[in-house]
C-alpha cells in the first residue's frame, strides 16, 4: 500500500481521534455521581407523595427562594417527585387546592407557616421530619 498524502492524513486523524477519546474517557471518569442528589430527594418526598389525593393541585411553601441554588434545588426536586401531580409555586393558589407541601431548609419551620397569612389558614397534616411537612387547609 503506497504511503500517500491521503492515507497519512487519514491515519493521523484516526490516531489523534483515539488520543482524544482516551483523554475524554479520563475526563468523564471524573463525573460526580448523582450531583443533585435526586435519588435522595425522591426518597425524602416519597411518603408525602403517597398521601396526596389523586386529583387536584398541590401548593408549595418554603423558607428558600429562587434567588439561591438551594431554593431552586428544593423546588425543582419537589416538582419532579410530586409529578404527575401539579405542584404550584404558591401556598395560596385558589379554592381547589387542599394540600400544601412544606419544603424547608430549616427544622424550625412552624413560624414560616404561621407567618404565611393569606385567605386560607393551614394546619399541619403530617410532618415527615427534616423540614418536610404536608399542610392542609383548615377550612
Amino acid at each position: 500500500m503506497p504511503l500517500s498524502k491521503s492515507f497519512l492524513s487519514a491515519l493521523v486523524v484516526a490516531v489523534l481521534a483515539l488520543w482524544a477519546s482516551l483523554d475524554f474517557f479520563q475526563a468523564m471518569g471524573r463525573t460526580i455521581g448523582d450531583p443533585y442528589k435526586v435519588t435522595q430527594f425522591l426518597a425524602r418526598y416519597g411518603p408525602a407523595v403517597e398521601m396526596l389525593p389523586s386529583k387536584g393541585k398541590v401548593g408549595y411553601l418554603s423558607d428558600t427562594t429562587f434567588d439561591d441554588v438551594k431554593g431552586q434545588v428544593l423546588y425543582f426536586s419537589a416538582l419532579y417527585a410530586v409529578a404527575p401531580h401539579k405542584l404550584v409555586y404558591s401556598a395560596d393558589a385558589g379554592p381547589d387546592m387542599e394540600y400544601v407541601l412544606g419544603n424547608f431548609s430549616i427544622l424550625d419551620w412552624q413560624k414560616n407557616v404561621d407567618a404565611r397569612g393569606g385567605d386560607h389558614p393551614l394546619e399541619t397534616f403530617k410532618s415527615f421530619g427534616n423540614g418536610l411537612v404536608l399542610l392542609r387547609r383548615k377550612d
Binding site: 486523524v13 484516526a14 483515539l18 475524554f24 455521581g33 425543582f76 404527575p84
Partner: protein, 446 residues
C-alpha cells in the same frame, strides 16, 4: 417492559427505513439502524402524544396504533426484499483505519456509558424539565396537561414534547418511572448519530470516509459529553443529521418526516424544519413533514403557552458577545491536539476538495447556515440575561455539529488507499463530470 417499548419503536423505525432505503450492503444496514432509531422514536412519540391528547393514551390503544403502522410497512418490505437489485461492489474499509477508528469509538462510547451510569437522572435540565414532562405525560387522566401548564415556574412549559413523549410512552407500558429508560434512550440516540454519520458517508463517498467521520465526532468531547445528560439536544442533532443525510441521498419524504420530528423536539428544530422545507424545495419532503408539522402547529396554537424567550426587543449589542461565546465553546469542543476542527483541517489538506459535490450539498449547507443565524437571532432578541442564555452555546452548536461534519467530509475527495482500479472507480465517483465526458468520447470514437 419499558425497554421493550423502546425496542419496538426501534424495530418499527428500522423496518420503515429498510423499506425506503432497501439496504443490501452492510454499510447501508448501519445507516438503516441509525435512521431507524430516529424514525421509530419520532413516529411512536408523535403517536403517543396525539393519542394522549385525544384521550386514548392507554397502553392497548398505543400498542394497537403502533402495530397498525408497523404491519403494512413490514409486509411491503418483506414482499419487496427479494426483488431489490444486488448492490454494486464497493471497496471495503482500510483495515488499519477501521481498527483505530473502532478503538476510538469504543473508548468514547464506553466513557459516555460509564458517565451515564453516574448520572441516573441526568443533568439539571433532564429532571427539572424533560423527564419532569415525561412524568406528566405518563400520568393518568388529564394529568398530562400539567406538562404545558402556565403554573410551572421557570420550567419552559412551551417546549415541544417529542423527547418527553418517547420516555412517557415507555413508562406507560412499564407502569413506573424507571430512570433507566431516559438513560438508555440518551445512549441510543448518540449511537444512532454515529451510525447515520458513518452510513451516509459510506454511501455518498466510501467506507473510509465514514470511518473518518466517526473519528472527527469521537474527538468532539464537547458534543459527546452531552450524551449522558438526557437533554433534547443530542436527539435534535440526530434528527437534523438524519434529515440532511436523507437530502443527500434523495430520500426527501423520510427527510421531511425527520425534519418535523426536529420541530417537535425543541423550538430550534422548528427553524430547522422550515429552512429544510424551503431550501430543499421537494414535494415529498413536504408530504413527509406534513403530519408532524400539523401536530407541532396544533401543539403551539392550542396547548403551549407563549415562549418566555420570545418577544424581546432587538439588542444589537448582544451579537458580538454571542459570536465570541460560540467561538469559545467551539474551541472547547476538543481536547488539545485531537481537536475536531484540527482533524477536519488535516483531512481537507490530505484528501483535497472534490471537484463536484452532491446535488443537494449547497442547499444543506444553507439550511445549517440559517439554523446558525437562528441561534444568533435568539440571543439578539432575548429579553433574558444574556450571560444566562449564553450558557446554552455548547448545546446549540452540538445540534448542528454532526450534520456539519457530514457535509464537510462529503465535500472532500473519497479516501482511497487500495488498488489503482479501486482508486480509479472512486475517482469517477468524485468527478462524475469526467466520467460522462469520457463516456461521450468513447461513444464518438465508436
Amino acid at each position: 417492559m419499558g425497554i421493550g417499548a423502546l425496542l419496538f419503536a426501534f424495530a418499527l423505525g428500522m423496518i420503515w427505513v429498510a423499506y425506503v432505503l432497501g439496504p443490501r450492503h452492510w454499510a447501508d444496514w448501519v445507516l438503516t439502524a441509525g435512521l431507524g432509531v430516529a424514525t421509530g422514536i419520532g413516529v411512536t412519540s408523535f403517536n403517543y402524544f396525539v393519542l394522549t391528547w385525544i384521550g386514548l393514551g392507554r397502553a392497548p390503544w398505543i400498542a394497537a396504533v403502533d402495530l397498525m403502522l408497523l404491519a403494512p410497512v413490514a409486509w411491503l418490505w418483506w414482499k419487496g426484499r427479494e426483488g431489490r437489485p444486488v448492490p454494486e461492489e464497493r471497496a471495503g474499509p482500510n483495515l488499519i483505519l477501521a481498527a483505530v477508528s473502532a478503538g476510538a469509538l469504543a473508548v468514547a462510547m464506553g466513557a459516555v456509558a460509564s458517565s451515564a451510569d453516574q448520572l441516573p437522572y441526568g443533568e439539571w435540565d433532564a429532571w427539572s424539565q424533560w423527564n419532569l414532562r415525561a412524568r406528566y405525560l405518563a400520568g393518568d387522566g388529564d394529568q398530562w396537561r400539567n406538562a404545558v401548564s402556565r403554573d410551572l415556574v421557570r420550567s419552559h412549559p412551551d417546549y415541544p414534547l417529542l423527547l418527553p413523549s418517547a420516555v412517557a410512552r415507555a413508562w406507560r407500558f412499564q407502569g413506573e418511572h424507571d430512570p433507566d429508560v431516559p438513560k438508555l434512550l440518551g445512549i441510543v440516540f448518540l449511537a444512532a448519530v454515529f451510525c447515520v454519520l458513518f452510513g451516509t458517508l459510506a454511501r455518498v463517498r466510501n467506507a473510509n470516509a465514514g470511518l473518518l467521520g466517526l473519528c472527527v465526532l469521537t474527538a468532539s468531547a464537547g458534543y459527546l459529553s452531552q450524551g449522558p445528560a438526557q437533554y433534547a439536544d443530542i436527539p435534535l442533532s440526530l434528527f437534523v443529521l438524519g434529515a440532511i443525510a436523507c437530502a443527500l441521498l434523495d430520500q426527501y419524504e423520510l427527510g421531511g418526516l425527520l425534519a418535523s420530528a426536529a420541530a417537535f423536539t425543541k423550538n430550534e428544530g422548528l427553524v430547522f424544519a422550515l429552512a429544510y422545507l424551503v431550501l430543499v424545495r421537494k414535494l415529498p419532503a413536504l408530504t413527509g413533514a406534513a403530519p408532524g408539522l400539523v401536530t407541532v402547529a396544533a401543539f403551539k396554537l392550542f396547548l403551549a403557552p407563549p415562549s418566555e424567550f420570545a418577544g424581546g426587543a432587538i439588542h444589537g449589542e448582544n451579537l458580538l458577545p454571542s459570536l465570541w461565546a460560540m467561538g469559545q465553546q467551539l474551541y472547547g469542543y476538543g481536547l488539545g491536539i485531537g481537536h475536531p476542527v484540527l482533524l477536519l483541517a488535516v483531512l481537507g489538506f490530505g484528501l483535497g476538495i472534490a471537484r463536484t459535490a452532491q446535488p443537494m450539498w449547497s442547499r444543506c449547507m444553507g439550511i445549517l447556515a440559517i439554523q446558525f443565524l437562528g441561534y444568533l437571532a435568539a440571543y439578539v432578541v432575548t429579553p433574558n440575561d444574556l450571560t444566562f442564555m449564553l450558557a446554552s452555546t455548547a448545546r446549540v452548536i452540538g445540534q448542528i455539529w454532526p450534520a456539519l461534519i457530514l457535509l464537510l467530509i462529503a465535500r472532500l475527495n473519497s479516501p482511497v488507499f487500495a488498488s489503482p482500479e479501486s482508486a480509479a472507480r472512486e475517482h469517477t465517483k468524485d468527478h462524475p463530470a469526467e466520467e460522462s465526458h469520457a463516456g461521450r468520447g468513447k461513444a464518438r470514437k465508436r
